[in-house]
Subunit: 317 residues, 2 copies
Amino acid sequence: MSLTVVGSIAFDSVRTPFGERDRMLGGSAVHFSLAASFFTDTRVVGPVGDDFGDDELGVLTARGIDTEDIERVEGGETFFWRGRYEHDLNVAHTEATELGVFGDFEPKLSDGSRGAEMLFLGNIQPDLQRRVRAECDGAAFVGLDSMNLWIETERDSLLAALAEVDCAMLNDAEIRMLTEEPNLARAAAAVRKLGPRVVVAKQGEYGAALFTEDGFFALPGLPLEDVQDPTGAGDSFAGGFLGYLDAHGDGHSEPELRRAMAYGTVMASFNVERFGTERVASLTHVEIEERFRELLAVTRFEERPIELRDASPTPSD
Amino acid sequence: MSLTVVGSIAFDSVRTPFGERDRMLGGSAVHFSLAASFFTDTRVVGPVGDDFGDDELGVLTARGIDTEDIERVEGGETFFWRGRYEHDLNVAHTEATELGVFGDFEPKLSDGSRGAEMLFLGNIQPDLQRRVRAECDGAAFVGLDSMNLWIETERDSLLAALAEVDCAMLNDAEIRMLTEEPNLARAAAAVRKLGPRVVVAKQGEYGAALFTEDGFFALPGLPLEDVQDPTGAGDSFAGGFLGYLDAHGDGHSEPELRRAMAYGTVMASFNVERFGTERVASLTHVEIEERFRELLAVTRFEERPIELRDASPTPSD
């Protein structure tokens, strides 16, 4: 078993009402691989510049992540994003995006990355996603993320990419936008017709929903009193989801897909509790296990046979 | 067991992308009582005008609802609301509100209504809620709904009303607004400090969350492919929730509160599938039972012991 992720490796400068960080390690491939590394062997494909140091690399290698395919571009600068969140953390503002080496990114995969059983195409230009997907032709299960930008500007490429993957992992707003269908159940069904037999609708703090041939499954978000920085939560979700599936499922078993949703929810819940990678990079197994059980506990209810009331009026007492 | 609800009885003119209805039966007390009537004896307190006919009353009496305390005001007109929903049904626009007899509403409760074990204070002016609550001094469990208008204009009255009830049933946005706390877990805890030991956060299509002394519980909304009119969904939720609790719980048992959340979710899901009261008023017991089991099925996942992966790098294969 092994899992390859292609996506951004970034420096993020983030300000939220609970603090700020300057040029901390971030990017979709980073958040994804850290979460996935608790479940399976994970390989990262992505470019960095001269400014990417041993400290940053060390965060990944300390988790046993294979960084062979992190390409260091001489004279280049690592992708940079600066954003701030309002008091309502659901409202984000991008203040700066500097593509740096990501602007000319040509994914190069080693044999190890190419031979992975599972592949996650993080949110990058859809034609790049397709090239990586074509290289990993032995991957048994491929997940894909995207964003509103590609839906608007690269629609045809994105549709072609979707036709070649097993699982679309998108925000519910993106699923609606992509399909021009405001009803999520219909929109998810429409995405499944485009190719992916599994659709995961990420709903931010509200949780996530799973749409498959077998039907529907949904999990609420965990009620976290200490949320500091939501950046990367969706990628941590994807990392927990695909990491679990690579280790314990094949993407076909519905019970395993549901457990994967739960581990995705767990990893995303840790992600937001601290800035950037701070929380996920230092998690313990016990913390993950406890939070999985907490999620189980807060979603469980039992049936009890009851007598429903007839329509006929009953005498008042 | 019996359940009294005070709230609006209305004519609603509603337009959605899926159709429109002119002056159909609506109002918080109507949606609530129809949903509750499948679980327990339900009494409605509220005013109507001369324009409220036998057909409208018949929708309630056909479900065995006690309408003794529906006060017909001579020469008055029934509360009227006209609204439209965008293609995204989460976006609603109020086009007209005519208070009619609701403007001078002075709740008058019969002995039957006053003696109810459970009481729901639908979304009306908080001082009126307090008067009704004071009259029903034997009620063992009292739920309260409110809205942004009262949070803004009658904050002190609303805080006094909240201090006198057991359960606040509010939208998550209202809970945040009331407490000026964007984090829902903290906001719900703050509402509990105001008095209600149970807080239900209604989250529209995303479901609902329950906050009690014992902790947290959440349910997703059901994935409905046919949603025609969301008007009244929150009141149908409250009706299912309190109706179930009156018949099968006392508002203290956590497992019963969770089942009440499930029946609330079930009744709200029916509410939105047709306009106004069309769907809930004609439900069968089998439909309710089947949808409860569907909700159980789409929220269930099981634990399976797994080995989490160590941080130490593993040799690549």
